[in-house]
Subunit: 249 residues, 2 copies
């Protein structure tokens, strides 16, 4: 936890009282005492610092902070990701990692090779996935919570929803081991948002590739190595970011 | 398991008999039967295919293959990594991910902010870490096993060992959030190996940074976000690979 995240409703006249894992973290990990300053941020708002004005040990541990929030948060990341629903244990890790790396919106979708049972996961309930996203922000010192949108059926997503949003994106990438383009060959300089689609273990089926291509997606490969989805998502995010940074220098 | 990995000693006159998890995988996941062809490779050797000549169900499941190994393995990756020992659960994942992404050698070292208890892990025994590296190769369809070298003390590594190997590398990168260089600013075109050092949670201490800089390492940052080690290692590997591919086109 490299930043203590607060909600608007928790702040009253510049004061915050915490009695959950954040209070424990401030006492046990940061070992902060009255008068110390800790890094705080408002979810989807500015960052700043909080000065400890009271510490009550015991159960629950309780701390009081006076906060000052005046730093603008990071810019909105230019990358949004479409992810075929992975198995829950992997999704949990990916949520934290993507929030830490920084993305705008995560579209979690059905695909042919997604196991049906994955949709039963409680992780898809808002209070569950938000927790993992927040952990990622706390790690990376950011306040901008990625949006999450869930589509339990592929065709309505690809045929109704994608056509409505596709023009928001200058670059549309379908990660595909058999893609003939490379990310560096496809991406270009200048402003514009990027939409990246990452398939399930086993990959996209031909029908899905066709539907994405019909919406102007370019099939890009990272090379011949077959990666697990959690490795691939992080590697793709990093590659797209590095290439864009080089092109936009 | 996208390739069945074999050891030299298992092959007798072009024939292999398997009765472990590889045999189970061939029967249960690939559902291969006599006459079918599966992808095989020799650890640190060529790749090819194997034709099933016998299947014996039961315990243990047993399969017999006639193998033909004529494809050259992938080139040796140009990247070696120095990693401050992470906690065992994280190291396990990193071993598989790095083998899947492809590296030459992994140097696992002590650093000031490495918890002493991490050194008690059985993962540091060869038969344990080799297993995770093999899983990575099986995932990525590669046969080239990364080398692993372990250094339980920082000073002998940095002051005795590094000076002996540093000239094998054209680029020496110390990943450091406060680095003033960027990977794209430091890396250049043309051939040459790369050595990348990734610190523990909490980062390198000043003494360690000094020692690496004394051996010609350049402090490079990926930006302001603080990442967990497993995320950072994969992202750094991907960024270095993407930048080098662009510069060497």
């Amino acid at each position: 936890m490299n930043i203590i995240l607060l909600e608007e409703r928790e702040i009253h006249g510049g004061r915050v009282v915490l009695d959950d894992r954040r209070a424990v973290h401030i006492q046990k990990v940061l070992r902060a005492t009255v008068g110390d300053r800790v890094r705080v941020g408002l979810v989807n708002g500015p960052m700043g610092s909080g000065v400890l004005t009271a510490v009550v040990k015991g159960r629950p541990t309780r701390v009081e902070l006076v906060v000052e929030l005046s730093e603008h948060p990071a810019h909105q990341p230019e990358l949004d990701i479409i992810l075929a629903l992975p198995r829950p244990i992997m999704l949990r890790r990916i949520l934290g990692q993507l929030a830490a790396l920084g993305i705008g919106t995560l579209f979690i979708i059905q695909a042919n090779r997604v196991e049906k049972s994955f949709w039963d996961s409680s992780l898809l309930e808002q209070h569950e996935y938000l927790e993992h996203l927040r952990h990622g922000l706390e790690q990376a010192v950011d306040t901008r919570l990625p949006q999450v949108q869930i589509f339990k059926r592929f065709k309505p997503f690809a045929e109704d929803f994608l056509p409505r949003i596709k023009d928001d994106y200058r670059f549309r990438i379908l990660a595909h081991p058999y893609g003939t383009s490379t990310l560096a060959g496809y991406l270009g300089p200048g402003p514009g948002r990027i939409l990246l689609a990452v398939g399930p273990e086993g990959g996209w089926v031909d029908f899905e590739v066709d539907r994405f291509e019909a919406q102007g997606f370019c099939c890009c490969s990272m090379g011949e190595r077959i990666l697990k989805v959690d490795t691939a998502v992080v590697a793709l995010h990093a590659r797209v970011s590095a290439i864009r940074e080089m092109l936009c220098r």
